[in-house]
């Protein structure tokens, strides 16, 4: 990465060309297909069969990368190699079919490490902002454990470890926030193929091996990875960074000045909009976790089937929204967004077991400043309306057609000038949806009141706390049948990484709640236990 001599041109030319090394951290989630297999007596035809969901290993990953880029006008090409440690694990259970006795089956799968060698091709949408795609060769290792418990006393455990090769492809965005440093956010799909058919011997209750065997096929080593990272670029092909005349690298002032409040409160929104004409890319990751686990009474006739689904009550939904935001006038801003979602549901009351990645929906947001906070008014008031089209249910992950309008009346104020800010949102969200193959449209509405307090520790860093109260109603658009209510609370963080880039993070846990007809102290039927939100905003 180099910057041409600043004295020759008032706005220096910036290039991505050069070597770089860096580190990354992120998460991965499996995209497996079903597992299947059979059991045999010695030298006889199979006497038991099974098919159950894949273990879909998920978890954290991190590693190092190195590469070289070449820039031609606004086009950028390059190569990159990376090496990752991974803690992707997953479990799955099932019940087989047999002429003798129903066998229980369980598998635990892990991907422990992987690496890729990929080509990169990108386009610099702004001198320091690169959008790119990449693809190439992948390799990695992991294994699985397969347990068999036959109803007739036979049991066995098999292990299989392997190093595999495959391919990887993805896309991302990279931002040079300092002369030699860039930050990236990228998605990568890695497919290391299927683990081959694997059979192992079973033992009976006396410890003898009567010649029976069990086999498992279909364990798929493929996953989606989302990674954030930083790169250091060696300034090998050009003169040194041009110093003070390279204007767009200057750090923001170290004094406390005005701050834009839109994203400083976490789940609650502030009333400010950007400057007229400003364009911003928002990357918003949301994680929802925890639902009421499946209840299995001993005398439940479906106990066996429910047990086979697992009893962990494992619910996780991760969504990724990419939004383009444009401030059209000094009072009006709009944003267009597309959101994808990954669900992993095991043994949750009222929801089917599911592992799925899908388009969640499309949205268009409009914000109008009714009263601008500042010299003319101590409070800011903004009306926000966001119509959305939904493709899958954000709760169940099943395909549906949904239309909803999230409306917010946003009020914020400066409690201590340039330091302490407070905001309140009133939320109204009517929705109509119809599940795939269903005739009837369901009408629902959610009402909410949320609040946040944020204090700036430094000009660039603000910490705060927020509360959110929501009520879920069914059978209509307006305060109809109350299904449940929940109160969430948690911390928030806002940090400016550069004049044109910020990160906002928030976490909230349900602290009180009540679902209609239930006696629990939380509503885990209509709401989740935990929710997290991570946002990168990049102005260009």
């Amino acid at each position: 990465m180099k910057v041409a001599s600043a004295s020759a041109e008032p706005v220096p030319e910036f290039t991505w060309s050069g070597f770089y090394v860096g580190a990354n951290f992120g998460g991965g989630f499996g995209s497996g297909s079903g597992l299947y297999g059979f059991g045999t007596d010695a030298f006889l035809a199979p006497n038991a069969f099974w098919a159950f969901p894949g273990a879909n290993p998920g978890g954290v990953l991190g590693g190092l990368q190195a590469g070289h880029l070449w820039q031609f006008d606004r086009f950028v090409v390059g190569v990159e190699a990376d090496m990752q440690a991974a803690g992707l694990t997953g479990s799955s259970k099932g019940v087989g079919a047999s002429f003798v006795a129903l066998p229980f089956l369980a598998t635990h799968q892990s991907i422990d490490w992987f690496g890729t060698i990929r080509g990169r091709i990108g386009y610099a949408v702004a001198p320091t902002l690169l959008m790119y795609g990449s693809g190439g060769f992948a390799y990695g290792g992991g294994g699985y454990e397969f347990s068999f418990f036959g109803g007739d006393g036979l049991s066995g455990v098999g292990f299989h470890e392997s190093t595999r090769t495959g391919w990887a492809a993805g896309a991302g965005i990279e931002w040079a926030f300092l002369p030699d440093w860039s930050a990236k956010f990228e998605y990568l799909y890695v497919d290391l193929g299927r683990t081959p058919h694997n059979a192992f011997a079973l033992v009976d209750s006396g410890g003898d091996t009567p010649g029976n065997a069990a086999a498992l096929s279909g364990a798929h080593n493929r996953f989606h990875a989302v990674r954030a990272g930083v790169n250091y670029h060696f300034n090998v092909s050009g003169p040194d960074f041009g110093g003070s005349s390279v204007s767009y690298y200057h750090p923001a002032s170290d004094k406390f000045h005005e701050i834009e409040t839109h994203y400083i409160f976490g789940f609650t929104e502030g009333a400010d909009i950007d400057a007229e004409g400003e364009k911003e890319l928002e990357l918003i990751t949301r994680v929802d976790q925890g639902r009421r686990r499946l209840s299995v009474a001993p005398d439940d006739p479906d106990a066996l089937a429910k047990l086979s689904q697992g009893i962990q009550g494992d619910y996780r939904a991760i969504s990724q929204k990419v939004e383009f935001e444009h401030t059209l006038t000094q009072n009006f801003q709009y944003a267009l967004g597309v959101t994808g979602i990954n669900h992993r549901i095991r043994g949750v009351e009222g929801l089917d077991d599911l592992t799925n990645t899908s388009l969640l929906g499309l949205s268009g947001e409009m914000r109008y400043v009714l009263l601008g906070r500042g010299p003319e008014s101590p409070v800011g008031v903004t009306l926000q309306v966001e119509p959305e089209w939904g493709h899958v249910s954000p709760t169940s992950g099943h395909q549906e057609t949904a239309f909803e309008v999230e409306s917010k009346l946003i009020v914020d104020t400066e409690l201590i000038p340039n330091r302490l800010y407070g905001a309140i949102n009133l939320v109204y969200e009517p929705e109509v949806s119809r599940g795939l193959g269903e005739q009837k449209w369901m009408r629902e509405s959610t009402f909410g009141a949320t609040g946040g307090l944020t204090y700036r520790i430094t000009p660039q860093l603000a910490l705060g706390a927020g509360v959110q109260y929501y009520r879920a109603h069914s059978e209509g658009y307006w305060f109809n049948k109350l299904e449940g209510q929940a109160l969430f609370a948690g911390p928030t963080l806002y940090m400016r990484l550069d004049r044109k880039i910020f990160v906002s993070a928030a976490f909230s846990a349900q602290v009180r709640g009540h679902a209609a007809g239930e006696t629990h102290s939380l509503d885990l039927a209509n709401f989740n236990r935990y929710m997290g939100r991570l946002q990168f905003g990049i102005e260009f």
């Binding site: 204007s247 005005e258 010299p375």
Partner: protein
């Protein structure tokens, strides 16, 4: 009943009065001139009337680029070294609105005072 008629008359006349006010407000427009020299605004404080659209003309006398920005005016615009630009500001209420040069925020700072 008479009170009701007065209310109805008021409701009917109100838009006319409002539009009349808007028309008179938009009939006049204030212009403010600023220049940037040595990464400072000259003058550093300018005045304009309330509820009137404002045009700000900024000339950058420095050889380096500058970005004119204001959070409360909700504008930002890059001005090349030796160049100039025009910004149109919506009618504002009374108050002291800060603006700054985003590349040299600690020195390039000024106020638009609306009276």
């Amino acid at each position: 009943m008479k009170a009701m008629q007065r209310v109805c008359l008021g409701v009917l006349l109100a838009p006319g009065v409002w539009f009349g006010f808007q028309a008179s407000a938009f009939a006049q427009e204030a212009t403010v001139n600023l220049s940037i020299k040595d990464h400072r605004f000259q003058p550093s404080e300018v005045r304009a009337p309330a509820n009137t659209p404002i045009t700000i003309l900024v000339r950058n006398l420095d050889p380096t680029p500058e970005e004119f920005e204001s959070k409360t005016l909700r504008v930002e615009k890059i001005i090349a070294g030796g160049g100039s630009t025009t910004l149109r500001i919506r009618p504002l209420g009374a108050g002291r609105y800060r603006f700054f040069g985003d590349y040299h925020e600690d020195t390039a700072e000024g106020y638009l005072v609306i009276e």
